[in-house]
Amino acid sequence: MSKMLVTGGCGFIGSNLVDQLIDDGHEVVVIDDLSTGKEKNLNPKAEFHALGLLQIGENRLEGIDTVFHLAAKARVQPSIEDPMTYHNTNVTGTLKLLQDSVKHKVRRFIFSSSSSVYGMTHTFPTTESSTKSPISPYAANKYIGEIYCKTFSEIYNLETICLRYFNVYGERQPTEGAYCTVMGIFVRQLLEGNPMTINGDGEQRRDFTYVGDIVRGNILASTSNKVGKGEPINLGSGINYSVNELASLLGGDRVYRESVFEPKVSLADNKLALGLLGWRPQTKLEDWILKYKKDIGLV
């Protein structure tokens, strides 16, 4: 049993990861400033501190074996409005956590990155070595975080690994607020009896990845002996759906509105995850949506 730190452990992905780590018998410390995370998501067996990343004190990482760094100010659009706040939390916050990890001899640091680092790429499926051209401060923050992870592995011998998530969905996905993803927005609209609003023609395609698969990817990343030098690894299902197809799976009326500046396609090449972590996605979007619709009373 080792002691794990999960930042953002009250959030959508973080809380799912914490549950799994605790089920696996680990001691888990959660740090979350509750700006978007919810305390009701928090596993009661975790030790919890309601702190922002820049508020973590000098002793907090003592005895920690693995850091799962999920806390971030998320989403592309709001980062365009307030790049400085995003930078402070996502870049400076990550740097501080890396430094504390070195100081307290953390074994491995697992950084949650994002497929948004690819930006307007033209390579599909997208491999890890495809061109990175972030088109938002959020994506830039994540890319800088990756570079710091790699640098820290080089100069301080901290084992790091960067996981690039593709459009994550699943239990506890937010259905309201600025941090909501397209599926969350659709679900809220359906529950309220409203049509689903689609940006542009709805033909943009997204690689939707199940949160349970992301959790497993994190845990494999913490144990695999083939990684630790800041490797970026895609965690994506390798199958994509248009927003129209997603709307059809959910079922219901739609309205179309002006398009926003966003990539047309996301599709992960996930062979590296298989090779280095032994990771394969296990849950398919259509299967999960069927179950989810029953759970929330949409059928």
Partner: protein, 332 residues
């Protein structure tokens, strides 16, 4: 086991209550007159009685009904600087109340009484010797410290004569979420937060070079629990808290860094101890205290909490028992 906590609505009481509910199977009973604590601090699971401890009849009834195994006596009005201007209130609240608790513990066979005394018992330190060691002869410099010292002595006497088991804790300057930040007379960190939230500068008395060992409440909870149940703590006086000493100016700088804003202002110096520099080794050895939360992180936690608090009205005294020599900032 049944655990009775006095001052259940205050910082130490409510936070130990939370901790016990979360980490143990014990039944928690609480008493508070809500003169300095707030009812929303009290954990739901606690069987709560509201009354003033100086009322001996009520104390006896609760002890008779509950038959507690361990008693944590935290209730006190801990405004040290105010005590010379509120002597009788101080002695009634701190000394007479404790006498009633001691009676209850003796009469109903309580297994151990944990009493929170104060750094105030050291005063400037006997012969100005520092660090303040539990073995040194106390030499308080104000009625608050005198009351706490008297309580300590009386508890030990009850231990000798009536076989009462006890543990006396002298906390360093403990702070954290659920602390009363609306009291004008006590706890510098809370006062600063209140001042900042109300667009006032944070006041520092004198040059601000006086030092205090600020200790985060979260690090003190398990040690406090052990003070009541661990054999090692039986009949021991223990300084409890962090091993890092901050000047008031440093603490103020750290808080302004946490808030990322704020101003300070220096006011006339008060009659107070220059350096409250206690030992901490006994708390490590007997209560397994660990200094996990530094002042920056602890203040961040407290500030995150304070920001979310409703703007409660500030407590102040309409009249003082003694007006002579009272500081300008407490005059009306």
């Amino acid at each position: 086991m049944k655990i009775l906590i006095t001052g259940i609505a205050g910082l130490l009481g409510s936070r130990l209550g939370d901790w016990l509910v979360e980490n143990t199977e014990h039944t928690v009973i609480g008493i508070d007159d809500l003169s300095g604590g707030y009812i929303d601090n009290i954990p739901e699971e606690v069987d709560f009685y509201k009354f003033d401890l100086a009322d001996g009849g009520q104390v006896d009834r609760v002890f008779r009904k509950v038959k507690p195994d361990v008693v944590y006596h935290f209730a006190a009005y801990a405004a040290e600087g105010l005590s010379p201007f509120m002597r009788t209130y101080n002695y009634k609240n701190n000394l007479i109340s404790t006498a009633k608790i001691i009676n209850g513990c003796i009469n109903y066979n309580v297994k151990r009484l944990v009493f929170t005394s104060s750094m105030a018992v050291y005063g400037h330190g006997h012969n100005e010797v520092r660090p303040f060691d539990e073995k040194h002869l106390p030499s308080p410099i104000d009625p608050y410290g005198i009351a706490k010292y008297a309580c300590e002595m009386d508890i030990q006497v009850a231990g000798e004569q009536h076989g009462l088991d006890w543990c006396v804790i002298r906390p360093h300057n403990v702070y954290g979420e659920k602390q009363n930040i609306w009291d004008k007379y006590r706890n510098v960190l809370g006062i600063w937060m209140y001042q900042h939230m109300n667009d006032e500068p944070m006041t520092i008395f004198g040059d601000g070079e006086q030092t205090r060992a600020f200790s985060y409440i979260g690090d003190c909870l398990e040690p406090l629990y052990k003070a009541g149940v661990d054999d090692r703590a039986s009949k021991q006086i223990i300084n409890l808290g962090g091993n890092k000493f901050y000047s008031i100016n440093e603490a103020n700088e750290i808080l302004r860094k946490v808030i990322e804003d704020g101003e300070k202002i220096h006011r006339e110096a008060r009659h107070e101890v220059k350096d409250a520099f206690p030992t901490w080794d006994k708390s490590v050895e007997l209560l397994d205290y660990e200094f996990k939360t530094d002042l920056f992180e602890g203040l961040s936690l407290m500030w995150n909490w304070a920001k979310k608090q409703p703007n409660k009205s500030r407590k102040f005294w309409e009249t003082y028992e003694v007006e002579k020599g009272i500081y300008d900032f407490w005059k009306k």
